[in-house]
């Protein structure tokens, strides 16, 4: 119980009261477990199975209450787990045993189980049992009702779940990315899937009291989706998702405690959603923002290159163009900044020597590209795109060298500079290959 002990000290330091400490710790634990297990659900494209499963837990909670007549958290959790499991089996039976597709099957399981749950819940409420008050906390969650025993139970369950994930990391990884291969190399996929689903059920059950059946799915999907943006490695993704989940839990719990009438569950969900938004926009490499900038830069480079070639075409042998003939002000400035053109006499523009080299390089590039499209891809001449393409990024080096060698043999007349850094290949040895 060192986590709990550590946290209690931390809580005392901050002067947090008993209830808030429980809420924060409970939410953090829930976010951690939900984030880690959500990764597998998201990677296996089963994000919404968690939703169906959470809704399916409701009748179990109600039945457990009706049978035991008490709202001891453990009993209700067992009930929730059992009916969540039955929901998963029903889902599987519908998809395998009929023509109903997975989306509709999810909808059927989710809504019918939830309907049964609501029916039982209202029945319990109307029997006027005094102990029932607070059973509806399982709908949207009511973190304030968490007591220390609940938090301890959640922590223990989480520890068990995380330990299993740690022990079976390799197996779960294989199952998530290549189930056929997993089966082929001898991991039994069915027991593993069953185990993974069970772990997700446990995570859902852990979250029921805090965020409720309706919103639980967000704590599975959001941290995992956010973590996915920052890394391509599963281990790091799990760690990040756990971190994001726990962070959402703590932020949500603290905010809802500080601001009156701000329910905990929805606040946690919004915190997690905000993390996703930030990640999708700003994560290095995958961030939508960076991709947009990259695309913009690329387009700009192509524009400038096209202008340079136009300029060279117009300039012809004289090497100068009169200023009024040029309309593209911004692009022209860009050319100048790169030192490719300079101001000549009589308000004309002249290509600088570096500019001329660049033009020849671009022409060479275009010639190689055309050749590639015409020969290797067998495109008809009219379909060949004449723009300057950045083929160095597209074509493998071998192909590029071959094409360039061919060109060099045929075009001895005009020396076109190679792209910088290209290995010079003697045409003779190239032909001998």
């Amino acid at each position: 119980m060192s986590i709990v002990a550590g946290y209690l000290m931390f809580g005392v330091d901050l002067g947090l009261d008993y209830t808030l400490r429980n809420v924060i710790l409970g939410s953090a634990v829930l976010g951690l477990v939900g984030g880690v297990l959500g990764c597998f659900a998201v990677l296996r494209r089963q994000s919404l199975v968690g939703d169906a499963l959470a809704h399916a837990a409701l009748p179990g909670v109600c039945l457990a209450f009706m049978l035991t007549g008490a709202k001891g958290t453990f009993g209700l959790m067992v009930g929730a787990a059992i009916s969540g499991w039955i929901g998963t089996l029903a889902l599987l039976a519908i998809v395998r045993g009929s023509r109903i597709k997975e989306d509709a099957a999810l909808g059927v399981v989710l809504s019918v189980f939830f309907g049964v749950g609501i029916l039982l819940l209202t029945r319990i409420q109307r029997t006027g049992d005094a102990a029932q008050s607070g059973l509806d906390r399982f709908l949207f969650g009511q973190a304030a009702t968490l007591v220390e025993r609940d938090v301890q139970l959640m922590a223990v369950l989480s520890a068990v779940v995380l330990a299993i994930v740690w022990l079976l990391f390799k197996e779960f990884k294989l199952l998530s990315f290549d189930p056929d291969f997993a089966a082929a190399v001898g991991f039994a996929p069915t027991p593993l899937t069953v185990l993974l689903t069970t772990l997700i059920v446990v995570a859902v059950v852990i979250g029921l009291q805090t965020v409720g059946v309706v919103l639980m799915v967000a704590l599975l999907i959001a941290p995992a989706s956010a973590a996915r943006q920052w890394t391509n490695r599963l281990g790091r993704m799990l760690a990040l998702a756990g971190l994001f989940g726990a962070l959402s839990g703590v932020v949500g719990a603290v905010l809802s405690a500080r601001i009156s009438r701000l329910p905990t569950g929805p606040t946690i969900v919004l915190a997690a959603t905000a993390i996703v938004a930030v990640s999708v926009l700003f994560a290095p490499e995958r961030g939508v923002l960076w991709a947009g900038i990259r695309q913009w830069r690329h387009r700009r480079r192509l524009q400038v290159a096209a202008l340079l070639r136009d300029l060279a075409d117009r300039a012809g042998a004289t090497g100068r163009v009169d200023a009024p003939a040029l309309a593209a002000g911004g692009d022209l400035r860009a050319l100048r900044r790169r030192g490719w053109v300079g101001a000549g006499p009589d308000s004309a523009w002249v290509l600088t020597p570096t500019g001329e080299t660049e033009v020849r390089r671009a022409r060479r590039q275009e010639a190689v590209w055309k050749r590639y499209l015409g020969r290797q891809m067998n495109l008809p001449p009219e379909a060949i795109h004449h723009g300057v393409m950045e083929m160095e990024r597209v074509l493998p080096d071998d192909t590029l060298r071959l094409l360039e060698a061919e060109l060099a043999r045929e075009e001895a007349a005009e020396a076109i500079p190679r792209r910088p850094g290209t290995v010079v290949v003697d045409p003779g040895t190239e032909a001998a290959r």
Binding site: I100, D103, G107, F114, G115, L139, R261, L270, V280
Partner: protein, 363 residues
Amino acid sequence: MSSELVVIITGVLVGASCALVGCFLVLRRMALLGDAISHSVLLGIVGVFFFTGGRSALLMVLGAGAVGLLTVSLVELINRTGRVREDAAIGLVFPALFSLGVIFVSRFPSRVHLDVEHVLYGEIAYAPFYRFELFGLDLGYRSFWMLGIMAALDLLFVGLFYKELKLATFDPGLAAAIGFSPVVIHYGLMAAVSATTVVAFDSVGAILVVAMLIVPPSTAYLLTDRLTTMFALAVGTGAASAVGGYWLARSIDGSIAGAMATVAGLLFVAAFLLSPLHGLVARLLRLRHLRRVFARGLLLSHLEGHHGSADLATLRCRFLWNARTAAAVTRGAVRDGLVRETTSGAYTLTEQGRGAARDVAAG
């Protein structure tokens, strides 16, 4: 009119209008978008409450329709970034919008007269208490007007665009090729789903709308291969769920909406097991029938090929049949006069059996 009847008719109207648009959701594999819309519609309702302070039916429908379309476009937007897959995108959008709705309800209880119970169970039991008044004239029950108009609009939508919807559902490529814009059809359908959802929401609550949208059409889908029949069956199942749900809720004293979903679920299970076309039992029977036909074919061609007779032990050994299968196959063949048992306990073909064996060989 007795209040009981008002509630039942309200339920039937909910079931019918939801089932109508739900059919397309199920067929176009967009059931989960319906689920997402039904959750996020809460935000639209709350927003209208918050900004206008009233519960004007028209504004509610418009607000909810707007949020419904917002949900669909957000899912699409996230999906198109390529960073998050569609299932996860749906699971990101609707909990966030639903959370916003719940937070609004709890933050501003004085301006938003909704309580959690209403959001979840709806107020179908109160349908007899709300009446529709215009210029001081009492025109009858409000739920009848709202749901009736909605059902009529849905019917109109499906009726007018039947051909377009059908084609876009079953052959989107052809539909796009001959000029029906898939985008218009998609968003039109989503608008219809959103509007229907919000009207039904009032009666059965957020999550149980999903039950009415998806479960009856899924049930109908198990029962028929024809679209028009599917509409009729879905509407019928939806209405039956409403009536049965009312009865169930009355007899065990629980939420009517919950009971409606429960009955819809029971009807689905019945269709899943017993549908003559696609039911589990029918499938198993067909499988058993095929197995029998195949086994009889084996028996006949074996006897034909070995000029005459074989005893049970030979057959069992030859075809790896267990005692029960061997007995059943021979008994059936004897009964139908294809095979007869000789005094030594072996089986030979009859004249009729030889004909049948030649048929088997001819395929």
